[in-house]
Homo-oligomer: 434 residues x 4
């Protein structure tokens, strides 16, 4: 039976021998006609019109992918070979003039995953390059050369041994400043509030002046030393910066500047007559107080030194869509569960009396339950409330379980990429020109 069929096709249809990269595939002209307007269907027409004299056609292409392509001609289903990277498949599909949307759903994931990874890693590499503006020191002279050398020492801790030492020193100052900031809040070391009632020239009424003066002496010295160091550093870095505009717009530099403001404002006010008028105002004190928080943000200087932090930042940036998804899911679940717990727990007509007196309290409860933190500061206490609480906690666990494989993908990808890059040093140049 089988032989008769093949004998029939031997006579009726002409057999073609396709030599793809050394591997010979035999097929019939009828098979190649199955996918119109592709390279092989045109070859079949050409072969028939030419009398079918020639039996072998040679193509200098990947033989493994051609297996799938000739299979597509035979059966009409395009599946992808799993031993070949998706990018190679894409290139071969382009050559054979077959559209990628013919790929079946089952193979689509394998096919895309490699192309996706390549796309994300290339943009990641480009971001890294963007930061490492390679400078040609040999073309610089005089002041320009000195400026650039200082810039590299102060801003690129990995370029030289001196830069590394400076970087560590600078970070120790940051750490000291943060430590001082934290210690200041301890009861024993906390600055006392001195009611300062002497100078009442500009406002008639007698206000209590809450001036932050008599603190721990050691902490004051530390504070002063750090402030001087950071001021000098910021000025010097501004002077030697090769691109002033980019320097001014950099978020880290703005944080550094804002962190310096409170102390200088205080010094200025203390030396002038303005103090009594404005330092009294609640508003000014509040702003000064809030600006002190920027000291803490100096911790982000660590990004310059520690590459895993860079990976984290880029991974979060690349996963923005997935993070947004998680937030929207949490938001919707929060709204639903907060309303439900409010209704379930209201003891009286308007919820007054229960712990869940308002819906916004329910927001807080729902979030803390869904992230499985569960402080227990507000908890349901009615049977219906217990049911809502059960649903909320299970729902939180589900949301986390569903979205996390999707979110953690990019970080693992970037981290493994960076680690294998740092282990094989020559890859750096390669990934630059990808």
């Amino acid at each position: 039976l089988e032989r008769k069929l093949s004998a029939a096709s031997d006579e009726g249809n002409q057999r073609l021998l396709l030599n793809v990269g050394g591997v010979r595939h035999e097929t019939h002209v009828a098979t190649l006609r199955n996918v119109p307007s592709s390279r092989l269907s045109r070859l079949a027409e050409w072969h028939v019109s030419g009398g079918g004299g020639r039996l072998e056609y040679f193509f200098d292409r990947h033989p493994a992918v051609f297996n799938s392509i000739i299979d597509f001609y035979r059966t009409g289903e395009l599946h992808v070979p799993l031993e070949v990277c998706g990018a190679v498949v894409k290139r071969e599909l382009d050559f054979w003039q077959i559209e990628e949307d013919q790929i079946k759903a089952c193979c689509w994931r394998h096919y895309r995953s490699y192309i996706e990874n390549q796309r994300i890693l290339n943009s990641f590499n480009r971001s890294l390059e963007h930061e490492q503006d390679t400078v040609d020191l040999s073309s610089l002279r005089g002041w320009k050369l000195l400026q650039m050398k200082l810039w590299l020492i102060m801003d690129h801790p990995r370029t030289s041994r001196l830069a590394m030492i400076y970087g560590i020193t600078s970070f120790l100052f940051v750490a000291a400043s943060i430590a001082g900031f934290c210690l200041e809040t301890l009861p024993g070391l906390r600055p006392e509030l001195m009611p300062n009632i002497t100078n009442t020239s500009c406002a008639g009424e007698q206000k209590k002046l809450h001036v932050i003066q008599t603190s721990n002496e050691a902490l004051n010295v530390l504070d002063f030393t750090c402030t001087v160091f950071f001021t000098l550093e910021l000025l010097l870095r501004f002077c030697v910066s090769p691109n002033k505009r980019r320097f001014v717009l950099s978020p880290m530099n703005i944080i550094d500047l804002l962190a310096l403001v409170p102390l200088y404002v205080q010094v200025i006010f203390e030396q002038s007559n303005l103090q009594s008028c404005y330092m009294n105002e609640r508003f000014v004190i509040e702003i000064m107080f809030i600006l002190r928080i920027f000291r803490m943000f100096r911790i982000f200087h660590l990004v310059k030194h520690y590459q895993a932090l860079k990976v984290l930042v880029y991974a979060l940036r690349a996963s923005l869509q997935e993070l947004l998804m998680l937030f929207i899911f949490l938001l919707i679940a929060m709204l639903i569960f907060a309303t439900m717990i409010y209704y379930a727990e209201r003891s009286d007509d308007f919820g007054a009396g229960s712990e869940f007196s308002t819906i916004p309290i329910g927001f807080w409860w729902a979030i803390i339950t869904m992230t499985t933190v569960g402080y227990g500061d507000v908890t349901p206490s009615t049977p219906v409330g217990y049911m809502v609480g059960t649903a909320c906690s299970v729902c939180g666990v589900l949301l986390v379980a569903l979205t996390f494989p999707v979110i953690s993908n990019n970080f693992s990808l970037f981290y493994e990429h960076v680690r294998s890059r740092s282990l094989s040093p020559r890859v750096r140049e390669e990934s630059d020109d990808v």
Copy 2:
């Protein structure tokens, strides 16, 4: 030794040359007889009866899968090639007339995973298509055309720029309505309960009427505006809906309608004499109050706008069996641990005195412990109770760890599918005809 064997088989058994898609496989007739009633065993019989004159048989099939099939004839074990998608293997097995249940347990997972994914993704694609009823606007005239255009604008935010603007406006109203609903519960903005004792015509006894009247003025205006908007929208959408029956049965439209009821009921009651009789009843007030909760469910309008929510809904629907499994596991563990903690903690003969005074309280404790929320509102306090608590928390962590890889599978699959589809626009058409 080896040569003698092969020499013996040269004389005794006849060697066949099978050319499968250009790749030549040599084998003996005896080997092909190993699997009876398959295509190749019949070929072997035919070959022997025909005198074995012909040496090569040509099959226009996938060569990689044939490796596994000829291996099955040789060794009696059917393993699947891992470089080929399971769907291709299935097709080839059908051609060679070998049953898929011959596949060994070790390869079964690889084989099925692709077929499973294809099945799930195809049903997912069909669900998406089902929603996107593509309309041929060119075939419509006059009112029908206007109706359909309005319908697309109001219900399909992605079809045009105007539809997008309308969609955003509509969603802002939803957001405003929800914000108002939440703010209403804040102490400062909460409506006061006015005892309303004037009208006591239908019931003899003097009841306190808790009418929700004097609320914050701005919130009242917002409430009124939103209600008018939603009423008009619902009416207009009903008018232009091309399929009234489907419109009426749609859950979102029912929610929209129910959310409008409380305000209209209140208006009607206030204008009529019915108020005094029915508004007094606890039952009516309760229902009115509960219906207000439907306002919150308007948040689900977001599903229309945000595709990741659609993915979540379909993924949960596709994982129903796995979710049911999680719930049953949690239920059983809850029953067991609640009983055990009740027995472990009872201070007196019947548990009175301890925090776990009833088994249902134990349910609550067990669920909150197993989801690792752990509010701490009820905690064990006896040594045996500590042991039950330890078992319960470890068991919860285990249940979650065991079932989550199984549950999160479908969401990742759908999400990656949708994302790669949205990146390569032409795939849309392809996945439609799968």
Copy 3:
């Protein structure tokens, strides 16, 4: 250069042509001598001693695996082809007489994973078969046939429609019994403790008799009905059981029996004079009370009905080693952290005064912290205690993260196996004879 080398080898060493399943591999005699006492090295010796006249040797084996094997002869490193299942590789290694411990560490995981999965799945299938003792009804007559039919109806809910209906009815009784058991503990429905001081014949001192008598009437009726049903069912099932010994030793039947004891003991005691002597004793009441807990364990009858529960049981049994590992890790961490928190928090010389007054309290705290439940009933309150708490919580998160991929493996494997089996019905028979 290359050509000269190959020319040299052409003259010096003899070239062999190995035809493995139709794919020709060329190699030198010297290469085959690299791995002594294997099939190919003996072939090479035989070839040389025979004068090397014959050039091609035919082996009816898997060609893809032979790639790796000839590569091992060439380079001395045995790597495994990733497109072939590990079980096939094992079979081919046996044929070529190469030991599996030659496989390099990098490929070992791929190689073993398939063999491991096959081993675990086969033992899983055997466990399932062990339960499903297939009975040949046609060979039975009279009472034996009736007995077996009743047995199938009562114990195998999936064998017939009647069995399914009976199974559901039976489970509804279980559910009703459990519901009654839980409701009994609610304050409104709780049985009152009647001091029963009438009969004081055998003990001189006057004891308070806590007899559980006057409970809610409906619950009493439910309790009585369920007890009668379960008694009859147990008796009938024992009568029709084909294997009495296995029936008696089955844990579920022992649970069923123990759950019936308390009520019958109570009935017996109430009817006899023994009551006053023994029912007074705290010990007897305690045992009766504890035996009531077995009612709850009737929930495990669900295993018979719900296959996912069976999967869970077998997965936990197959992961016993991994679970033991988790418990030992938790135990060690618990001991260390409990000691540390006890020392960190002791306010006085012997810890008296702090919340962590004893080390066992520290055990409880450490477990609840490491599973991230965190009730907050005991919390550290000193700086050193905070550090220990931080270490403990991070350590718990780490332990869970490290061990869970290892533990959840088997459950996913079994679950997917069962699901794909239930989707393709014919696989059942196949997996039976594996």
Copy 4:
């Protein structure tokens, strides 16, 4: 068209036939010139200069990898075949003189993962070997032989049945000692503090002597027995140790020694006049008390007996970089969130009054929230505090989700490696010479 092109190349460029391990690849000389200074480009030059007479070149190399390499010559993109282990690819790249940094980003992960795993597993195997110093007993005589035999019995529980029995006995003593240590802290068994005011010779002022004397009698006996056993064991093990220096520096032996100190110090002090002077001192009592904690660390003797613990230790050591990353991420997030919650919750100008009175309290809160333990001992109570708390809990969940796949990798790898090794005993020798 296609034929014309191939005809043109037939005339213009010479076609080469490369036979790599039996598989023929056809290509043009021009293609081989694409990658300069590689083995094939030199072959092409040699072929052309030699007149192109010879048509086939034979290479005894892996044919599957050559597919990718010839593809690199054709297209300029180096992708890796996914059916071959990365280590094989590396070896083949070296042979063909192509640098690995030419591999595209999409395939890099597959390529490196096998090489990484091999590197980590080899260092893991080396660590295991390092511990198992294999001794050749046959070369020893007399005392040396006895010493070594005793050493193996006392320190290597897996070498003989006697060693196993000794190991279990020894560990039972450890368990008993730890149990006694924990029980001592229970209120009923706690040693009473005896004010000991008799002997006041060296200090003028009258101090209260808190001597730990009158404890539970059974615990004292247990304590004494264990101490004697551990002392004898330590002495004996030191005597028979083949490498005294390594013995003295081993952390486990130092722990054993330190755990013995407190009891001996107490005995010495009680027998001498020193007691009254030094035992009074808070400092000495404190140190004695703290040294008692080393008893608990004897639990680490379990590492010798239980291989999964060894796997855990090595996995943590191999993942040091990833653990450091997790700690730094947690540290930064802790600093930021602690500052923010301090500012958000301060009721007055300096935070006094709120639960978050200092920033270090905020550290504790942030860590406990980010690990989702959530004790609830300090919780935010202002709207801004709720927002910070929400951000902190979501951030904690994210950090854990992002870093855990990266951290848990090594443990799974090691665990599966050890398990499959223990299942196939002969692999042990193989992995030794890797």
